[in-house]
Amino acid sequence: MSRFMFDVAHMLAGSLVLVSFLQLYQDRLYALLNVYAAHAVVLALSVAWQAYAQDAPHLFVTAAIALVFKAIIIPIALHRIIVRLGIHREIEKVVGVGPAMLIGMGLVALAMVVMLRVTAEADPLAREDLAFALSVVLLGLLMMVTRRNAVSQVVGFMSLENGLVLAATGAKGMPLVVEISVAFSILIAFIVIGIFLFRIRERFDTVDLQVLDSYRGERR
């Protein structure tokens, strides 16, 4: 693979990590959704580049799914849900911005150390890709635990999933990537429909999970 191919793939995967960091400190839901849409666009570009670099046309399908479904449909749907539920207030966080960013940096360092050491013999593109992908996965997990709001937890999960798609496309020649990305899209669609259909707002007056957590089954 030429140097140029490698550099572009590297840059796109790195941008995905960067956008994950941007998500960490968003404290308004609309802004968070916009950043998530950007995350999905970067993912689509990255996957499309891999499709071109590996000469694997089926990966363009995955890229198209990322672009149409994750960058357009899901953010719009979530946007409408937020309007409908009237929850465009500030996001309540468990951890402040400063500590969250520091933990995030620690996680990225961890991902780099673990993946680069373990994959010493793999080809360089796959190595870097996996390290970045693990960073995105861990940052997504971090976001899920530092948010209390159901919508922002879902956004955290979706960015985690973007990391997985990056890993799957980085693993050259992996079969079933398209199927797996479709399966994941179905999962996400269900989550979003679930928030809407369960009408968390109607039943609980809030999608704040701390209120949901009031029930533990043992305290009646």
Partner: protein, 479 residues
């Protein structure tokens, strides 16, 4: 085209699900559900005698044959129980007809997903199937749409999705480890080809992959400390789903873990997966045994008991060796049968009493003798009293451990005794003494419950040599 049982075991539930999604009415759909589950069981049973050759996507060997037959059998008996249970739920208006249609369709989708996960030869396909099973159970857990049910479903959903995501990362890493040896493409994800050449894989990558797989699928098995979703999901969903979750879905996730454990076992340089499973198993066992004391909700209590038993099973498979693997397999089978029988009893009890709170039920053996004694028998079985089957398997686990690692055996026995005490304490309150709480009517079907308990008793008294031989064979396969 010749008849292929593997395809049939997938097509029957899938086709029935579509049919049930459009058919109205309760009696007809419940019957179709039972018939389809029976047909799947018969087809799965035929796999014992005639087995198609392995392909790129599906394969059946001695190991998953046991799992498929067990899954379809409990799926069938649960569908019989479900028919009477759901009838009552309709009468009291907890479910509407629209939701019922959805429920039946989802039941078959769940059976399809579990069968697919079991027969899959491709680790990516297996992942997709387990994801589908997770999704359907999430929808079923939330079906009552009460505050509690929605919270349980949401919690299950978030934790389950994270688990599934980590498992996918592990699966990708396995592919990465296999690629330099097997070449690119579909072959590097086919389990039967992987296991042949796993010795040449990069051990560091395999280790890392297994850690992710253990965390991911371990969440679905309900091993502590990844179990948080399990009690809520069991307590708030419809009881047939609790029975299927405890009796089957936990097994399916464990099966996935076992497949990857076998991969690692082939590679001498990779870490030994046994100690990890042993540790998580023991933690789950002791933790759940103590948690049993403080339960006030009867379904939550038996959910914790499931965590306890999955801990024992994981422990047994972690110890490895022919005897411990045999004990683990037997314990898994016995636990599936017993726990689903208990949930059948508990489901009807909760309907009779109109509540799941232990404090509001009592003296069941007087007010509802059949149900009460059924529950007593089930709890005796699950607590590991002789002469029932769980005693046999627990005895095997303990004795094989004493011979190899006495200290571990002491922890194991301690956990078992603590759990034993809690179960009998609660059983005493529910089954004996003055009748408490209201007593309503229910059209219970006792056949599934007693059929399971009879099988458990039979296994405790007399194990057919054919079955013993089969399990020994599988135990050897597991290494």
């Amino acid at each position: 085209m010749t008849f292929d049982p593997v395809i049939a075991v997938l097509l029957i539930p899938a086709g029935t699900a579509m049919l049930l999604a459009v058919l109205p009415g309760y009696r007809l759909t419940a019957r179709i559900n039972v018939l389809a589950a029976l047909a799947s069981f018969v087809v799965a049973f035929s796999l014992f005698f005639h087995r198609p050759g392995q392909g790129q996507y599906f394969h059946v060997d001695d190991l998953n044959n046991v799992f498929i037959v067990l899954t379809t059998f409990v799926g069938f008996t649960t569908s019989v129980f479900s028919a009477s249970y759901i009838g009552h739920e309709l009468e009291i208006g907890r479910l509407t007809l629209v939701f019922l249609r959805f429920y039946h369709a989802m039941y078959q989708v769940l059976m399809f997903a579990m069968n697919l996960a079991l027969v899959a030869n491709n680790i990516g396909l297996m992942w997709v199937a387990i994801e589908l099973a997770t999704l359907t159970t999430v929808l079923m857990v939330g079906i009552y749409r009460t505050h509690e049910a929605l919270e349980a479903a949401w919690k299950y959903f978030i934790l389950g999705s994270v688990g599934i995501a980590l498992a996918l990362f592990g699966t990708i890493l396995v592919y990465m480890a296999a690629r330099p040896i097997m070449g690119e493409g579909a072959d590097a994800m086919v389990w039967t080809s992987l296991v042949v050449r796993a010795a040449e894989f990069d051990p560091a990558l395999l280790n890392l992959a297994f850690v992710f797989l253990l965390l991911g699928y371990g969440t679905k098995v309900g091993l502590a400390p990844l179990h948080a979703w399990l009690p809520d999901a069991h307590a708030e969903g419809p009881t047939p789903i609790s029975a299927v979750l405890s009796g089957l879905l936990l097994n399916v996730a464990l099966y996935a873990l076992l497949r990857f454990k076998m991969l690692l076992a082939v590679n001498p340089a990779a870490l030994a997966p046994g100690p990890l499973l042993v540790t998580m198993g023991l933690i789950s066992l002791v933790f759940a045994a103590f948690m049993l004391y403080r339960r006030r909700d009867i379904k939550r209590m038996f959910a914790y008991s499931s965590i306890e038993h999955m801990g024992i099973i994981a422990f047994a498979f972690g110890m490895g060796g022919p005897l411990a693997n045999f004990a683990g397999l037997l314990h898994m089978t016995m636990h599936s049968l017993t726990k689903s029988a208990i949930f059948f009893a508990v489901g009807h009890i909760a309907q009779v009493k109109g509540t799941q709170q232990i404090a509001e039920m009592g003296g069941l053996t007087q007010t509802n003798p059949v149900l009460g004694w059924g529950l007593v028998l089930g709890v005796i079985a699950i607590a590991g009293m002789p002469p029932l089957g769980i005693f046999t398997s627990e005895f095997l686990v303990v004795s094989s451990t004493f011979a190899r690692a006495p200290w571990l055996a002491i922890i194991l026995v301690f956990g078992l005794l603590v759990g034993f005490g809690a179960l009998f304490l609660r059983l005493n309150a529910v089954a004996f003494g003055e009748p408490r709480g209201k007593s309503g009517e229910t059209h219970a079907s006792y056949a599934p419950m007693f059929a399971h308990l009879a099988l458990v008793l039979l296994a405790g008294v007399y194990m057919p040599p054919a079955l013993v031989g089969w399990f020994q064979n599988v135990a050897k396969l597991l290494g």
